[in-house]
């Protein structure tokens, strides 16, 4: 009996020396995999919700357009505006915007470009249609209405 006791005494504690290393590894993983938002939003973005969502797997193909009321009403007015990258553009600048975005892609992927539109829910369809017409003009016909998932009660 006493023999057994002696043996178990030596392996009493779990070694915790490696614990910080494990936690640091997790920490670095999250730090690296986190993508920090690159665009500063100049327009209001309360997106409407929908149920029939599709996920975009190839993020490199996506370019963003933000539409909504400017946050800074004093200097930009309260009419909905289009934001591309970090500044406001007019509907007739969109063709140019699409061309610049297409240039960033590989030659073989240029016609697969996806425009992701983040449109504030209170925006009127008028400006959205104008943008769509310009996108047709620019031959960027894959369009994503970016929306979060709506919880369905059924």
């Amino acid at each position: 009996m006493s023999k057994f006791k002696k043996k178990s005494k030596s392996s009493q504690e779990i070694p915790t020396a490696a614990l910080p290393d494990i936690i640091f590894m997790l920490l670095f993983f999250f730090m690296i995999s986190t993508v920090i938002r690159q665009d500063e939003q100049l327009v209001e973005q309360k997106l409407p919700q929908a149920t029939q969502l599709k996920k975009i797997e190839k993020k490199s193909l996506v370019s963003y357009l933000y539409i909504g009321k400017p946050k800074n009403i004093a200097s930009f007015g309260s009419e909905p505006k289009i934001q591309a990258n970090d500044n406001f553009i007019e509907p007739n600048d969109i063709v140019q915007f699409v061309l610049t975005e297409k240039d960033k892609l590989d030659e073989s992927q240029r016609d697969q470009i996806i425009i992701s539109m983040k449109v504030d829910r209170d925006t009127k369809m008028g400006i959205v249609t104008d943008v769509q017409e310009e996108l047709k003009e620019a031959n960027a016909r894959k369009l994503l209405y970016n929306t979060p998932l709506k919880a369905v009660q059924q």
Binding site: I23, A50, S116, T147
Partner: protein, 195 residues
């Protein structure tokens, strides 16, 4: 002297794990994984100005008309609709009619759902309506291949096995055109204020 030194030899690393945990939890909480989710649509090509627009006569019964005015009211098949959520079942009934009811479509192949918004319609209403129509088609496709609408929507078309199921649901004909297409048309909106 020696004995004393030995006691304070190593840095106390016991709380290191706590500090790392704190940092980890901070990053976990503040991280927002950017999601690119939404309703994917394919815009029609721009009409060629050198060619006159093709003159296609649609049989009126094959077009399911949804009009939205600038007050976000809905007019579906010339009747006022108050509950947007009933739209899904109306679309399904319309598409799956197979010529029985003379007011509804001849066949899924001919059926077209047309959504026409006003320039003053709010984007939220438009998305809700489009979502309902999309949902109706996903349910119909899902039923054809014995899947739920959600599972059908998540099919990965780059995988040949799943693409096969997708094409089976759309009843792809020998000419490469589906016999059960998802024909949702977004019409040019009328000027603000108009019907």
């Amino acid at each position: 002297m020696r004995g004393k030194d030995r006691v304070t030899q190593g840095v106390n690393a016991g709380s290191m794990a706590d500090i790392a945990f704190l940092l980890l939890i901070f990053f976990l909480v503040t991280t927002q994984i950017a999601t690119d989710k939404g309703i994917l649509i394919q815009l029609p090509p721009k009409p060629d100005p050198n060619e006159p627009p093709p003159d296609i006569k649609f049989n009126q019964r094959n077009v399911f008309k949804i009009l939205i005015n600038s007050n976000d009211d809905l007019l579906v098949e010339d009747e006022r609709l108050r509950d947007v959520n009933s739209l899904k079942d109306m679309v399904k009934e319309f598409v799956l009619n197979y010529g029985r009811n003379p007011d509804l479509s001849d066949s899924p192949k001919d059926a077209i759902v047309s959504i026409k918004a006003d320039r003053g319609t709010s984007y939220e209403t438009f998305i809700t309506v489009y979502d309902q129509v999309e949902w109706a088609y996903m349910e119909m496709y899902g039923e054809r291949v014995g899947m739920s609408a959600d599972d059908f929507r998540k099919l990965d078309l780059s995988d040949p096995e799943q693409k096969k199921i997708y094409n089976q649901a759309r009843d792809l004909g020998p000419d490469g055109k589906p016999n059960f297409p998802k024909a949702i048309s977004i019409a040019q909106p009328s000027k603000s204020g108009g019907s």
